[in-house]
């Protein structure tokens, strides 16, 4: 490195263009992107799916996906153009100068190797001169630095024995093994719960403050940007829309796209509780659930190796869904919220003292039993892409559903069903031209609308929406939520809304149930939960949400 490098920024990307070369045509992925990152700085790249942000990260690490090539521009690290470095030398840079953290810590680690061995191997690969015991000592030191308690013991753990947050800490420890100056973090917290996300961001922040590291943070989450980034680059369709200091950009976004992106982020309202507001149960319930429990505990050969005791996924759950109202169920992953959804949709069996739908007792002890909830409760799933049969057109999928659930005596002629289908999709903002499309020809938002139409066509007593917006981009999320709210109000529908996102729940629900480890931790009207509840876990969840500066 020459002397002039002292003035060069740590990372400088200029006029970067990436192209995907397919068999038939080339597609631009990233066009003429410019940005730079200084020592000790966190630069956030934000954009929705397909914006090309991850490809930029891969280009910086030097691991572009097969088929993607850099056609123009340069990436300079401390003044040295990385295009000129290749093969073995480029590999030597990885881990040493540029380290990376990926989105999902569960898949970033080799499941068959202890995390300690993986960390040791990383250290040994980056510093071959160290002796075995030195490597081990350094590994323990790194584990302690990222906040793993009882590091020597955890060194012997396998990835599946650790929680998501601990796994991501291990991944960060590996990224630190080569004492890099730059970490490329691609959605480092997107697979984690809000409370864990906060801790991981705290660890990353500490690295920047204490060790002068720089982080290139790629995310779709404004909250994460607001929490940690010094500067932001907003990307859309492979091009930079806007960039600047985080605080300034969040407060006064210039570009309309950034403004829309910011406006679409669900925010918690501050609630001033009205003592006169009706409490839970004031309205007539359509669904009553009392003492619902579900345990898993199979008889398998694996019992040899594991404990044989049944594991309770749900314990003594009780709630009421108000008629023409929305009950929200919130909780972190593993809290059992989705299990409740599947049980109430009749897809899974469970034990309960009482399940009463619209005044009728229901039997949920076996799946698919007559008198169960199957069919009378409809689901909207998280990922619309996998909830629709890829081989059926929209019309086929919806007609099938309308026919199968039509009550006896209803006109199920081709024309009548088609009329119902068209009426339903038009109310949901789709057009007749969408009817002949296959799911892959629709956008994520359109697919979710089809799923909602499918649920409505069955004329359910209750709709269960299990994280219906989590797989969608922020701007689409807002549309779908508004649509759901409208639909509920227009049709006097009753709904159970399952989500990990408090702001969304507050926006749409009348009553809220907070779940934790298969039990109900807190239960009350939405205003009560968000305004008055003194339950420490509820407060903890609310506080863990990344705060976006006043927008």
């Amino acid at each position: 490195m020459t002397a002039e490098n002292h003035t060069a920024p740590l990372l400088e990307v200029s006029e970067l263009s990436l192209v995907y070369r397919g068999a038939s045509r080339s597609l631009p992925i990233v066009r003429n992107v410019n940005f730079s990152l200084d020592h000790g700085e966190v630069l956030g790249i934000i954009g929705e799916s397909g914006a090309g942000k991850s490809s930029i990260g891969n280009a910086v690490i030097g691991l572009l996906a097969p088929g993607i090539a850099q056609t123009a521009g340069t990436i300079r690290l401390e003044g040295t153009a990385l295009e000129a470095v290749d093969g073995e030398a480029r590999r030597a840079l990885r881990g040493r100068a540029i380290a990376s953290i990926f989105q999902d810590p569960s898949s970033s680690l080799d499941p068959l190797m202890t995390v300690g061995a993986q960390l040791d191997e990383t250290i040994a690969a980056l510093s071959p001169e160290l002796s075995r015991s030195d490597v081990r000592a350094r590994a323990i030191q790194l584990l302690e630095r990222v906040g793993i308690p009882d590091a020597p013991r955890r060194h012997h753990s396998y990835p599946h024995q650790l929680s998501g947050g601990q796994r991501q800490r291990i991944v960060i420890a590996m990224a630190l093994a080569g004492a890099p100056s730059l970490i490329v973090a691609d959605e480092p917290t997107s697979a984690l719960d809000a409370t864990v996300q906060k801790q991981i961001l705290h660890v990353l922040k500490g690295l920047v403050q204490d060790h002068g590291l720089s982080i290139l943070l790629i995310t779709h989450d404004m909250g994460v940007i607001a929490e940690i980034a010094d500067r932001v680059v907003v990307m859309k369709d492979g091009a930079v829309i806007e960039q600047g200091a985080t605080a300034a950009l969040l407060q006064a976004p210039q570009d309309p796209y950034t403004q829309r992106l910011l406006a679409a982020v669900p925010k918690l309202r501050s609630v001033h509780p009205d003592p006169a507001s009706p409490g839970v149960g004031a309205r007539e319930p359509i669904l009553v659930v009392e003492n619902l429990s579900k345990s898993f505990g199979g008889r398998s050969i694996l019992d040899l190796f594991g404990a044989g005791k049944p594991h309770f996924a749900l314990r003594d759950i009780g709630f009421r869904v108000p008629r023409a109202g929305v009950l929200g169920i919130v909780g972190e992953s593993g809290s059992g919220k989705s299990t409740i959804g599947r049980i109430l949709a009749g897809l899974e069996s469970a034990e309960a003292d009482r399940i009463e739908l619209d005044g009728q007792r229901c039997d949920i002890s076996h799946r698919n039993r007559a008198g169960s909830l199957l069919g009378r409760v409809q689901m909207i799933f998280q990922d619309p892409s996998s909830a629709l049969n890829p081989r059926l057109t929209v019309a086929q999928a919806l007609t099938e559903c309308a026919r199968a659930t039509a009550p006896a005596g209803e006109d199920t002629s081709q024309a009548a069903v088609r009329a119902r289908v068209i009426e339903t999709i038009e109310r949901l903002g789709l057009q007749t031209l969408h009817l002949d499309r296959f799911p892959h020809q629709l956008s994520g938002g359109q697919k979710q609308r089809v799923c909602i139409a499918r649920a409505l066509l069955a004329r359910p007593k209750i709709v269960i929406a299990d994280e219906p917006t989590s797989a969608l981009d922020v701007s689409v999320q807002a549309e779908i939520l508004a649509l759901l709210k409208e639909t509920v109000a227009e049709n006097r529908l009753s709904m159970i809304f399952i989500s990990h996102d408090l702001a969304v729940v507050q926006d749409i629900c009348d009553d809220v149930c907070v779940m934790r480890n298969g039990r109900i931790e807190d239960y009350g009207s939405s205003d009560f939960i968000f305004g008055q509840s003194e339950n420490p876990y509820t407060r903890h969840l609310i506080d863990a949400r990344p705060k976006i500066l006043a927008a």
Binding site: L63, L109, D110, P111, T122, A177
Partner: protein, 326 residues
């Protein structure tokens, strides 16, 4: 401890059930093919009286269910009966052929596993390359060629034309652990090469395909990408990360194929005149030598149960998710 006991009990139950079924299959099967007595007496000289006495002597005059009952009684004393043809205890006869088959199958399987996994890894890390295409195409041929043709070609090319290897037999043996083994002498090893190859080649193809498919999948996994991003060398990624992750299906196949070879390598053993269990079984079926057939089938069933248990144990060794989660 209780759980361990339950699993062992389950395995034993499974073994007993299998043994019962296999012995029944042997019994009913041989019974429906014909009467063994005509292979025991000399048809040309025997008088009806001789045949009657032989039938009584072998217990063949009893109804089949009584014969089976007698067999069970004998089994309780540890005897599978006496071979009608060789006049030796059937079980000891099978056991005397076992070392030959075992060493043949073991050598073939070791060659197949090492070569197949190696080829699969090489091809899987370079999908679409020339090497990959050659490996994939070659495996199709190797799997479709019938084993008798393969064996004869090996004899023709490597024994008859060139004279590199002997065309059949076991060669000289050396004693170890009370049994005679070919692999302990140079001559025996030379005799082992061709039959082992004939058994190994289809398995190389099978394992190479499995390994290739697994490698292609694992190479796309996030943790391999993360290893690259960490700066780990390709070699280490291949051997320390890819190999263990693709090995579970390979172990399953190796276990099954090995078990099959121990009993049913009939074609190869016959062509190479290898005095093994497969050859004994086919000869015994032809001669309606029921005690030997039943003893062989029972032993095969037992082998499969043991192999299955070993495969399960290896799973636990390789995959920590199967073990106790502490």
């Amino acid at each position: 401890m209780m759980a361990l006991f339950k699993v062992i009990a389950g395995r034993l139950y499974q073994a007993f059930l299998l043994l019962a079924v296999m012995s029944l299959v042997g019994f009913v099967g041989i019974h429906s093919v014909g009467n063994p007595v005509y292979n025991v007496v000399n048809i040309e000289t025997a008088t009806p009286e001789d045949i009657r006495r032989a039938t009584e002597l072998l217990g063949l005059d009893l109804p089949l269910w009584r014969q089976y009952f007698v067999f069970l009684q004998n089994l309780a004393t540890g005897s599978f009966g006496i071979s009608y043809i060789y006049h030796q205890p059937a079980f000891a006869l099978v056991m005397s052929k076992l070392p030959a088959t075992f060493e043949l199958a073991a050598v073939a399987m070791i060659v197949a596993t090492v070569t197949g996994t190696g080829l699969g890894l090489l091809a899987g890390t370079r999908p679409g390359s020339r090497l990959d295409r050659v490996v994939v195409a070659a495996t199709v041929y190797a799997l479709s060629v019938p084993s008798f043709w393969l064996s004869m070609m090996l004899i023709l090319l490597c024994a008859v034309t060139t004279g590199w290897f002997p065309s059949g037999g076991r060669g000289s043996t050396a004693e170890f652990l009370g049994w005679d083994w070919s692999f302990l002498t140079i001559d025996g090893l030379r005799h082992l090469v061709l039959p082992a190859l004939a058994l190994a080649i289809p398995n190389i193809a099978l394992i190479a395909r499995l390994a290739r498919a697994g490698t292609v999948e694992v190479q796309r996994a996030d943790f391999v990408r993360f290893c690259r991003a960490k700066g780990i060398s390709d070699r280490r990624i291949l051997f320390r990360h890819t190999l263990p992750n693709i090995s579970l299906p390979i172990i399953t196949i190796v276990g099954l194929q090995f078990g099959g070879m121990l009993a049913f390598a009939v074609v190869v053993e016959s062509i190479f005149a290898w005095p093994g269990v497969g050859k004994l079984l086919i000869d015994s079926i032809q001669l309606l030598d029921r005690p030997v057939v039943v003893a062989t089938l029972t032993l095969v069933a037992l082998t499969f149960v043991v192999l299955n248990a070993i495969v399960d144990l290896l799973y636990a060794v390789l995959d920590p998710r199967v073990r106790i989660s502490a």
